[in-house]
């Protein structure tokens, strides 16, 4: 029994590649080559060198003493917020830009919601001197001006997605359409564990460095490799996939996924896909997604732009339906309070996405000797305006 993808990219009934024929050659080229390229010593060497010298890995596994005292359990924070560009996203973009180079691609496209993945992609394209086009919903461009500016400074072209609801899912559609129109020279860097096979598996593997480090660091600090629980927020789910990766097939490690309940699960303004979603196809993958009875994909809501996606990666859909993962939804309000709590107890300003994961301690009791690792996926600089507005700072 494994919770990893099978050869065809399925996690249980989820995953696969539900793509029009126009995308088949692109995905097939990637599918046939990604494992071989990732296994090449020269690839591994360059990947790890960049993670170390450029991204700043390994990121610390920090024992949060005051937070632990407050909740009477042992809480460790995996500090992905300390990565270059401010979040875990760059682990994947470093991996994929090296993959694109090995495949001989000269042009990169990406989608972005809040702009974090767009910035991480623009960053590695600047690093490698490769042309970069980032699709971003027109509405997101208006509300995420600093990240748009960052991408431009890094030399990327930011193209507005003007179709549909003009947010992340539409930016993803536009990136896919670009790839259909440019099938030969372009590589599409998807930002999460979503999309057609092999993307969910490939992105999870690039992000798996998170759990690889957790094991080594925990051994040093606690004398054991396995925590009792790993907690992460899930939008598409790439930080979670990375944090869970090496524990997926270790049943004694509890996996906890925190989704965004928005203004409440049944408020009509939510992104709690595991509760509100049904099996369907989104962006080439069979997974749980929020949709109408007629199969039209609906627009989710969360105060956190990074959790504002109507689906989840197929791995997470499988963790949910199989019962391997414990899924909890946290509202905007609870997340904001947990975020402020971390500032005051530990001196760390978290991204609002990560604040959702931190809110778990108000809703779920852990034993005093449990070791709970929370993946602190990003820093809160990008969310300052949200915090200012919310707390009237």
């Amino acid at each position: 029994m494994t919770y990893h993808a099978d050869e065809k990219g399925y996690y249980g009934e989820f995953g696969g590649a539900f793509i029009p024929e126009m995308l088949y050659p692109n995905c097939e080229e990637l599918r046939q080559n990604y494992l071989r390229i990732m296994a090449e010593p020269s690839f591994q060497e360059e990947f790890h060198q960049l993670l170390k010298d450029y991204v700043g890995r390994p990121t610390p596994l920090y024992f949060a003493k005051r937070l632990s005292e407050k909740y009477n359990t042992k809480i460790y924070l995996k500090r992905e917020d300390l990565c270059h560009t401010g979040a875990h996203k760059v682990n994947n973009t470093i991996g994929q830009i090296l993959m694109a180079k090995k495949l001989g691609k000269h042009r990169i496209i990406a989608e972005t919601g809040a702009g974090q993945h767009g910035v991480a992609t623009a960053t590695v394209c600047a690093l490698m001197g490769i042309e970069c086009v980032v699709y971003m919903g027109e509405i997101d461009i208006a509300r995420q001006a600093p990240n748009v500016a960052r991408m431009k400074m890094l030399g990327a072209e930011v193209r507005p997605a003007k179709s549909g609801s003009r947010t992340l899912k539409d930016a993803t559609n536009e990136a896919i359409r670009d790839w259909i129109n440019n099938p030969v020279d372009t590589h599409y860097i998807i930002g999460s564990v979503v999309g057609p096979h092999p993307y969910p598996d490939m992105v999870a593997r690039f992000q798996s460095v998170i759990s690889e480090e957790i094991k080594a660091q925990l051994l040093e600090k606690e004398g054991r490799e396995n925590p009792d629980y790993v907690v992460a927020c899930v939008g598409g789910g790439s930080n979670a996939a990375g944090a869970y990766y090496h524990f997926l097939d270790t049943p004694e490690v509890g996996i906890i996924a925190v989704e965004a309940a928005g203004k409440g699960i049944h408020s009509g303004e939510s992104a709690a896909t595991s509760v509100l979603g049904k099996v369907g196809i989104i962006h080439g993958s069979k997974t749980l997604l929020m949709q109408t009875q007629d199969g039209q994909i609906t627009e989710p809501y969360s105060i956190s732009a990074g959790l504002d996606y109507p689906g989840v990666g197929p791995l997470h859909a499988h963790l949910y339906t199989s019962g391997r993962g414990e899924f909890i939804s946290i509202t905007d309000d609870d997340a904001m309070i947990a975020g402020l709590g971390l500032c005051q107890l530990e001196g760390i300003i978290p991204a609002i996405e990560s604040s959702h994961a931190l809110a778990i301690f108000e809703y779920r009791k852990f034993n005093p000797d449990d070791v709970v690792v929370v993946n602190l996926s990003g820093r809160g600089d990008k969310d300052l305006q949200n915090y200012i507005d919310y707390f009237k700072l």
């Binding site: 539900f18 024929e21 088949y24 050659p25 549909g164 359409r177 259909i180 989104i282 199969g295």
Partner: protein
């Protein structure tokens, strides 16, 4: 009764002047007005079109360019949904005999229930389906028997990038025509054909496939129709027809068709 798509493809006495080249027209159900569906189908048949592809609108049509996207968004806004389309089409066979194909994305079909969807198509007299994001292997493993049980032909796409080996596999799995996408693009993205397309059309023609090919994407005029059908059995017009509907509503469908061939 023989499937109308197969029947049409086998006709050996095409009307004079058409040289046996078939014209298929795509439109989005529920556009420009919610209840235009039946009128458009009837007028297309009267205009002498050979196949009609009725588009089931989808919120996220990722293989489509702006024209068809916008028509889908408008159709959904007008209130179109799967059950309503079936309701609109329930008596269609009383007035038309043209081959009818439903084209859409897989998710709405999955939510309706594939078996139930196919059964409904059979009741109405739908002849085939085009579901671009239902991949060949999944179709063969999970749905082929259901489609066949209900007399539905599944039509697959090939593109200039499709490998020879895969084209052969698709030809093997096909039983009507092969939808030959003219260039690496979304719908309505490119106009006209160059040397690249000519080489592609020649390459496919020389493969002597079992199934005839009908070309789609990039056809908008008599000239492009002629170019597309030189080596193939026919061509499909979608975006250009949607533009005509946007500008004229359901009036003058006949004029649009007559200027193509």
């Amino acid at each position: 009764m023989m499937n109308r798509i197969k029947q049409k493809l086998q006709e050996d006495n095409p009307p004079a002047g058409r040289a046996g080249k078939l014209l298929s027209i795509y439109f989005t159900a529920g556009y420009p007005q919610l209840n235009d569906t039946v009128q458009i189908i009837q007028d297309l048949e009267k205009s002498g079109v050979d196949f009609i592809e009725v588009g089931l609108p989808f919120s996220d049509p990722l293989a489509d360019g702006p024209t068809i996207q916008e028509s889908s968004t408008a159709a959904l806004k007008n209130g179109m949904h799967t059950e309503l389309l079936f309701e609109q089409l329930k008596d269609i066979r009383k007035t038309v005999s043209i081959p009818l194909i439903l084209m859409g994305y897989f998710n709405p079909v999955l939510q309706y229930g594939v078996e139930k969807f196919c059964q409904k198509c059979q009741e109405i007299g739908i002849d085939g389906l085009i579901l671009p994001d239902l991949p060949l292997d999944v179709y063969q493993e999970e749905y082929e028997s259901t489609f066949k049980k209900h007399g539905l032909i599944n039509i697959f796409l090939i593109t200039p990038q499709t490998s020879e080996e895969r084209i052969k596999a698709i030809d093997e799995a096909s039983e009507g025509f092969i939808y030959m996408v003219s260039s690496a693009s979304t719908t309505g993205a490119k106009e006209g054909f160059g040397e690249e397309q000519a080489a592609y059309f020649n390459r496919i023609a020389s493969m002597n496939l079992n199934n005839p090919q009908i070309v789609g994407f990039g056809i908008s005029s008599a000239q492009t129709f002629q170019q597309a059908t030189e080596k193939t059995k026919g061509a499909i017009i979608g975006s250009a027809f949607i533009k005509h509907l946007t500008e004229n509503g359901v009036a003058g469908i006949n004029n649009f068709i007559n200027q193509i061939r």
